[in-house]
């Protein structure tokens, strides 16, 4: 039963298409990378401002916590539109997945837990 279901699933499964020759998609990807660093800047700036004003860090921690929860939404069992992955990607900053390239455990760069992780460019090396 389970094997049969798996076969059917495999048969029907269509991989997501990321066409980076498409101008809009290329733009979105570039925007995602930039937003990634902007968000990091926002977090650092908030930290400095809140510590100077001494009003507590609750908004900052809350932002990071919700960013963490949102960041992995594309990993759920849903087929998102390719553009949307880039919308969520900047939030990976809250998981300290800071760069697109892996600098440690480089031999695991092509090792993915599942396809959704591949779509999201989250290899094992990055997660580690």
């Amino acid at each position: 039963m389970y094997v049969n279901r798996k076969n059917i699933f495999d048969y029907r499964k269509i991989d997501l298409q990321f066409d980076f020759r498409n101008e809009l998609m290329a733009y979105m990807r570039q925007l995602a990378i930039k937003t990634y660093w902007y968000l990091l800047g926002v977090i650092v700036l908030q930290f400095v401002m809140l510590s100077l004003r001494q009003v507590g860090f609750l908004p900052l921690w809350t932002l990071i916590e919700y960013m963490q929860l949102c960041a992995f939404i594309p990993l759920y069992n849903f087929k998102m539109i390719p553009y949307l992955y880039d919308t969520f990607k900047p939030f990976l900053v809250s998981h300290l997945v800071l760069t697109n390239d892996a600098y440690i455990l480089q031999e695991m760069e092509n090792d993915y837990f599942e396809d959704t992780y591949r779509y999201y460019w989250l290899n094992v090396a990055k997660l580690a």
Binding site: Q46, L50, L58, W61, T62, L84, F113
Partner: protein
Amino acid sequence: MVALFAIVIALNIVVGLCYLFTPNKKGTCGQVIGGALSQFKFNVYIRLYMLTYFDLTFFAVMKIIENKQHTEMRKMATTASYVILVLSGVIPFFLMFIVCRRFEVMKIKHAKASFNTVILKIDKQSRWRMIVPAYFFFRRYLTACLLSMPQDNTFIFLQYVFILMSSHAYVLFLVAIKPYQSPLLNNYMLANETFYSALIIAIFIFSDATPELGIKIGAGIVLMSAIFLLIFSNFLMIIVLMFKGKKKLKEEIKQAKLKRAERELMEEEEEEDRRQRQKREEEEFTRLPEDTTNMSQYDLSAATNTNLTTGGNMLKTSKKRKGKKNKNKNNNDDVNDINLGGPQTTDYNTSEMGNTGVNDTHEPLKTTKKKKKRRDKNKNKQDDLVSMGQSQGPEPSKGGGPDEEYIMDVAGGEAKKSSSDPEKGKKTKGSSDEPSGSSSSDKKEKGKKKKKKSKTTDGEKSGKTPDDDNGDDAGRNDLLD
């Protein structure tokens, strides 16, 4: 993550050294460095763990589920994952244990200084609000486990269900409990959770529920809007906090705490009132069977004299009176009317059991005394007394008595009129004391009861019952004062 832990440890060492080499530790510089150093014990580490908790748990669960152990490094990673997963279960329990254990002294600043970050800006008045940190860990643990579920798993639908349910539950919790110290913080948290909830709801469109691309694009716009609102609410909050500053924020928190304390006190009072009322009702309800048995005793004694009317009427009236009692909660003596009606009323009501002719004449008199005492305790139930008086009537031996009573009970309007007449009330009391017989013992009892009656009428004139004076109103006034 490891790098971040290393940076924090390095910072801790640097700050510690700075504090050590500070010449004047009681000066401004020394106090600032000392304050920073105290944060490393243990707030910084706890917060760092809270921030990395989700990732640690997620990667640990994912590694365990993946279960690839063909190299030494992977084996080590699997072992580390087991350790991390166990710690992810144990450390939140440990933290919550400390929070719960020190809950009583948490209002003192120094008592919570070492773990303040766990309960950041949470109102410490109620234990229910301490659910927030526990829920923080629980939710992330659950999310991490669900995210690691392989997509060909038959229980994959639980992923969506649990994530959605956990978010909605937290929204409800925030609305109902309002765990943070000020309305501003509560609203901010509620806004964040609502936007996150909207994200989760919108993501359902990207399941196999619909193949329509148009709908998916619409849902994509909703997703992006929710993300934008999430960031925007944070931006707005930062501006508000910057504008308000520390002092104003503290004042606001104080005022909010006071208001909440007042509201909670009022609510508690109301609840106590409700509970007392309920208790009183229950007590009265438990009296009912006792009273009805007494009533049957009257019936038995009365059965020796006459057999004019059926007991059905009586039962009807008693049922109606019970119904009335439910409507007017304070009229607790409604059923006593029947008993206080005494032998006269029962003269006209004979049950089937009454034909046996058991029981002597003393029993009803004793019960009337008991009822009398009980009635004296509950002086504010004048309406009942009036209806009782009407039921007994000045000339109960005549056949009109029970019929009148029945009419009085059925026609509520008339009963109200009679209750407003003070003369009738007094008369009623007098007549209620009169037993059917005219023996010497009856006359003695009459005298005693007259005395009692005069006491009770004095009490009634004063306008308030002792219960009223000592009870809720007085207590409420004291509390309000």
